[in-house]
């Protein structure tokens, strides 16, 4: 049976996608990792104004290619407000950058930006809320419970404001020595799929899952010999197995899902988008794979802008082209045939205020 969708969530989801319901979204909400990278370029800590300016330039030059842009309320907004085209949707990040680990533990706890709220985000014009959530089912139960609780809390807050909730679960190594290891490459599918299954449960109120690629292409038989970076690795699966893993992820995700780029380069990300969309993803939400080469050019603005208008633009257009193979969100079982909730004569009375 097709479910009902409330009008606010529906309008918000429409705003994030292209007219056919495919997500072609850009992320420029990085904070910790971006500050570090900019410090490397500047030879000192970047100021608040510099980080805000970096985001503004990226948004001004690449926002026109995006169905929506994800930014943050610390540097991205309000500075980039005029630079983001009106026809692009606006997603705002809600989590504090990084994570907190309890003493002796390995679990990563997410916190929300202090002084910020869904109410403020909506008031500032956000069409959707994004939460990055470190999640590893193998972490200590206390950490797992903390992350589930914060997700539930944000889900409720988004429901109260009738605004879409986009969740970005991020895996990490608990028992393995790091994420670029054969052990973690072997572990990743199970972690990503189990995470999608968990956060598809209606109690979390998630509308779109922003998922990691559920395997590491650099550890496939086909790509292990240095296709994407100079390092040669020991393969742990084949491309055919990765296709099956993507299909399992699609099966586990009971809401529309998009693929994220993490820090992979554009070639690897395009391969990820192809595989994810073939399996049923509804598009992408991509940051650094598109624009990371702008970072070393930040001290030379004309060169940075030239990069964004040429290679950066082409990177984006390639992602958009690949995402034409994505499943429109309106064809996902969660939304197919959905009707607008409360479409009655008394809607204006029954529809609740936040």
């Amino acid at each position: 049976m097709a479910r009902e969708i409330s009008v606010g969530k529906m309008r918000g989801l429409m705003r994030l996608a292209d007219p056919n319901g495919r997500f072609k979204m850009m992320a420029i909400d990085q904070r910790g990792s971006l500050n570090k990278a900019l410090a490397g370029v500047l030879g000192r800590e970047a100021t608040h104004d510099e980080v805000a300016r970096f985001k503004q330039i990226i948004t001004r030059h690449l926002g026109r290619h995006a169905s929506a842009v994800l930014t943050d309320p610390l540097y991205g907004m309000p500075r980039s407000g005029r630079d983001l085209p009106a026809q692009a949707g606006l997603l705002l990040a809600y989590e504090k950058t990084g994570y907190v680990t309890e003493e002796g533990g390995k679990g990563r706890n997410t916190e929300l930006i202090e002084g910020w709220s869904v109410a403020k985000a909506v008031r500032a014009g956000a069409d959707a809320i994004k939460l990055l959530l470190y999640y590893q089912p193998e972490a200590e139960p206390k950490a797992v419970a903390h992350q589930q609780a914060i997700c539930r809390q944000v889900g409720e807050e988004c429901a109260r404001h009738d605004v879409p909730f986009l969740l970005e679960p991020m895996s990490y190594a608990v028992k393995e020595s790091g994420t670029d290891t054969p052990e973690f490459a072997r572990k990743k599918p199970e972690v990503v799929i189990e995470t999608a299954r968990e956060f598809s449960r209606p109690e979390y109120g998630v509308d779109v899952l922003k998922m990691e690629f559920p395997a590491d292409l650099k550890y496939t038989h086909e790509y292990c010999n240095g296709v994407f970076d100079p390092k040669v690795r020991t393969p742990v699966y084949s491309l055919a197995e990765v296709r099956r893993i993507c299909a399992q992820l699609n099966e586990a995700a009971r809401v529309p899902w998009v693929i994220l780029s993490a820090a992979v380069n554009i070639e690897e990300f395009l391969a990820n988008v192809d595989l994810a969309c073939a399996a049923g993803a509804s598009g992408f939400l991509c940051g650094r794979a598109i624009w990371k080469e702008a970072i070393p050019r930040f001290t030379n603005p004309p060169e940075m802008e030239r990069f964004l208008d040429t290679t950066g633009r082409i990177n984006f257009l390639k992602c958009n082209a690949a995402a034409e193979a994505a499943r429109p969100m309106w064809e996902h079982p969660a939304l197919a045939g959905a009707t607008v909730a409360l479409d009655t004569e008394d809607w204006h009375r029954e529809y609740p205020a936040p």
Copy 2:
């Protein structure tokens, strides 16, 4: 000195206009007049479902040509939610249809839709709030004060939610026998200009004025001989005088303003748009002049849709072309050089929740 603009109002205004800041907006929020017209076609009162369907069809076929669509939360939403393209802005009407007149008075009092609020409109995805306000400075002081108070109230509510407030003052005959009279044609410029001056005062919090054409072209020397309808009228001014009147209206309006179509036909409206834009208007918000011929075709859906995809579409494209001569809102003195308010490191803390 350029003023500051808050980020929510700025994003909302951007959503209403085309990328250059020109308003090309469609109104389908008619209720009383539309119900009456549909009853005339159906030979009986239209049902709620029929009115909602009429608005849905108009929105589906013409929304794609609009920078924004104005509809209402009684019939227009939630029904038309999926039919309005995501890239179009959404305005929602806040006033109850019609007006109330106190016994023995001539003043028209506007009331708000019961059970509705700016909070609900924003939650449902509205980018801006519209209030139609009957206003005649010559009405009895109690009526004038009532209308000013309700405007102030809605202005405050919009400021609380950081959402643009579009005010549509509507003149009416107090001392004259009707609006289609030489007396009212002579009176109209003064009424419209004085009204624009009044509601430009910052205490009302109006962001965009939706103004009547400040004269009646059918009472000009040039157009009085039945250009726009079969009736021949006694002229009360010349086209050159009307141009001066438009310039005075532009002078009085201290916020960006757009021209409305009332019930005039498309030829007269296009002449209105040309004159208004030449004087400094930032576009139009047009309803019946574009789509009113769809009404008699409502009982024949294929014919109604054919009309909308041909003549209706062409009407809209003509208005859009005329509005290319409009002044982009960002060049209006109220917004030129405006900077985003609170663009500081502490914005996420300082920016208030509603």
